[in-house]
Amino acid sequence: MSNLWFLYLFFSALLIFTGIYCLLTMRNLIKLFIAVEVISKGVSLVIIATGAVKNSILLAQSLAITYIVVEVSLVATALALIINIYKKNKSLDVRSLSKLKG
């Protein structure tokens, strides 16, 4: 069974890598947040896969659902932030967010 676990871990690692790559290189705020979503997909995949592989899918399922709720809350907050930033900056470029430095 643990072979399977590592298979899922392998794919979720790919997802997380993709997300982080995007976070590191992309500039559009919304795009960045999409990357965060990609990462969180990787995480939820791991949760469910672990539960499935380790015979505790019910528990894992409840965790995953909770996680999704958290995600929604985060997305709401983040998008609210992004909209506010857009209102102030008239731009979605993350590079313009560098007034605070030093």
Partner: protein, 492 residues
């Protein structure tokens, strides 16, 4: 009732927006302060039971086990609860007058209470996933609070904070899940028991690295610190105090060391890594603080540096080191809370935080200046203030554990610490009086009162360090020092 630490603030927070429609100011003020005062009282009352029994495990079973809540309270958590209640009470007192700048008291207080509830929950739950959840509760509230001013800088800081935090919490959750996969359970006790006879050190090592990164980011360890100097200064002063004083400690240090000591068990390898990171944080952040012109930004870097001390102490692994680290955690919470509130006072008084524009305020606002001085010296570790004792204990522990090099770093960095605090003192308070500030007056009553209370705490804890240490710190340190045994004992 230990549960009140979580439920009451949540409940009040839920009600506040509605109450806010009725009364904009007074009721939210009173309600919040009463709540926190109640929590403070509660935490003090808990000292005796926890002291006598070592730890406290509480269950709620309602509706035929449909509602099954379990809470574990030991010395360490109690210390955190006490610190949280104490500092946040002072912060809300301060907010009474300070919030005039922002308005929307009800909303503000609600978020603040949610954050408190999140931190309290994090401290109380004996379950890895719950730790993550409460971490997020506090975090989401803090994102909003950082951006509460809605200015471009606030939004920018909040956004960066959020984006970095999200990555961190993803890794935390990942790690929790992997541990869940390894042991098949999530509660501290079961995980600790499971890990004891598990032979998977490499995977576990990676998990711990994820934890270090995740919680390290929350605690702002170098190199995961970059969000903090943006986020803390941008927030309203009470929130800066809250974040620097409490949040980074609870969601970073508490969580990390609870897991490291009580769940996984401290290993020499972990100790080495954490100590090295602590030492790096101390030095790098201190140097960075030196170059700041914004009071709050300097304080923020100082927080990073001091977190370095705390982690350096906690990571030694000896009981004395843990005690020193925890004591410093407490002292830093108080003193940094004080300093951030104080910077709020300065901003309130003068409208600026730029050190180069300030100058000579000491003459006009002696109380603000004096309390600032006390806080600064306490953090710098100048006796007889509280910070001295904790740093002393940390350094003693370092030497006793034969970490002479780290001791030297800690000592020399305290000179740097003093150096940048003296910059604040010199540029803001004790230099020649800037003509712009000829007509300024002392900050309003509640702001000053909060400052004075915290300053007195710094002083009194320093003078009566012995009883404080025995009552609060020693049980907490014991709880941690017992390591995995502590968690395994809970069941009994």
């Amino acid at each position: 009732m230990v549960f009140s630490f979580i439920f009451i603030p949540l409940l009040i927070a839920a009600c506040l927006p509605l109450i806010g429609k009725v009364s904009k100011k007074i009721i939210p003020d009173v309600l919040t302060n009463t709540t926190l005062a109640f929590l403070l009282l509660n935490s003090i009352l808990l000292v005796k039971p926890v002291f006598s029994r070592g730890s406290l495990l509480q269950n709620i079973n309602w509706f035929g086990e449909l509602v099954n809540l379990q809470i574990a309270l030991d010395g360490f958590s109690l210390l955190m609860l006490f610190t949280i209640s104490l500092v946040s009470l002072c912060i809300t007192l301060f907010s009474i007058d300070y919030l005039k700048h922002y308005g929307h008291q009800a909303n503000f207080y609600a978020l603040l209470l949610v954050m408190v509830a999140g931190m309290n929950g994090l401290v109380l739950v004996p379950d890895l996933f719950s730790v993550y959840l409460f971490l997020e509760v506090a975090a989401v509230a803090s994102y909003a609070l950082v951006a509460f001013g809605l200015g471009p800088e606030e939004l920018e800081a909040s956004f960066k904070y959020l984006m970095l935090s999200v990555v961190a919490s993803a890794f935390i959750l990942l790690s929790i899940t992997v541990i869940f996969g390894l042991t098949g359970s999530l509660s501290f006790q079961a995980v600790a028991r499971g890990l004891q006879d598990l032979n998977a050190s490499l995977v576990l090592g990676v998990c711990l690295a994820f934890f270090i990164m995740g919680f390290g980011l929350k605690a702002a360890l170098v190199p995961f610190h970059a969000w903090l100097p943006d986020a803390h200064p941008s927030a309203p002063a009470p929130i800066s105090a809250m974040l620097s004083g409490l949040l980074i400690k609870v969601s970073g240090i508490y969580a990390l060391f609870r897991i490291v000591y009580s769940v996984v068990g401290m290993t020499p390898a972990l100790s080495k890594v954490l100590m090295a990171m602590g030492a790096i944080s101390i030095v790098v952040a201190a140097l960075l603080a030196l170059g700041q012109n914004d009071v709050k930004r300097m304080l923020a870097y100082s927080s990073i540096s001091q977190v370095g001390y705390i982690i350096l102490g906690l990571a030694i692994g000896t009981p004395l080191g843990i005690a020193g680290g925890l004591f410093h955690l407490f002292n830093h919470a108080v003193a940094k809370g004080l300093l951030f509130l104080n910077s709020g006072s300065i901003q309130h008084i003068t409208g600026t935080r730029n050190l180069n524009e300030l100058g000579g305020l000491g003459k006009k606002v002696p109380v603000t200046a004096g309390t600032n001085l006390i806080g600064a010296l306490s953090i710098a570790g100048v006796p007889p203030l509280a910070g001295f004792w904790s740093k002393l204990i940390i350094i003693i522990a370092l030497i006793q554990a034969d970490h002479f090099g780290y001791a030297l770093v800690a000592i020399l960095a305290s000179i740097l610490t003093l150096w940048y605090y003296l910059l604040i003192q010199r540029k803001a308070f004790f230099g020649p009086l800037n003509d712009r500030w000829l007509k300024i007056k002392e900050a309003p009553f509640w702001m000053t009162a909060a400052n004075v209370i915290l300053a007195l705490l710094c002083l009194l804890v320093g003078i009566f360090f012995s009883p404080v240490f025995k009552t609060w710190i020693a049980p907490a340190a014991d709880a941690l020092a017992r390591g995995v045994q502590q968690v395994l004992m809970w069941g009994i």
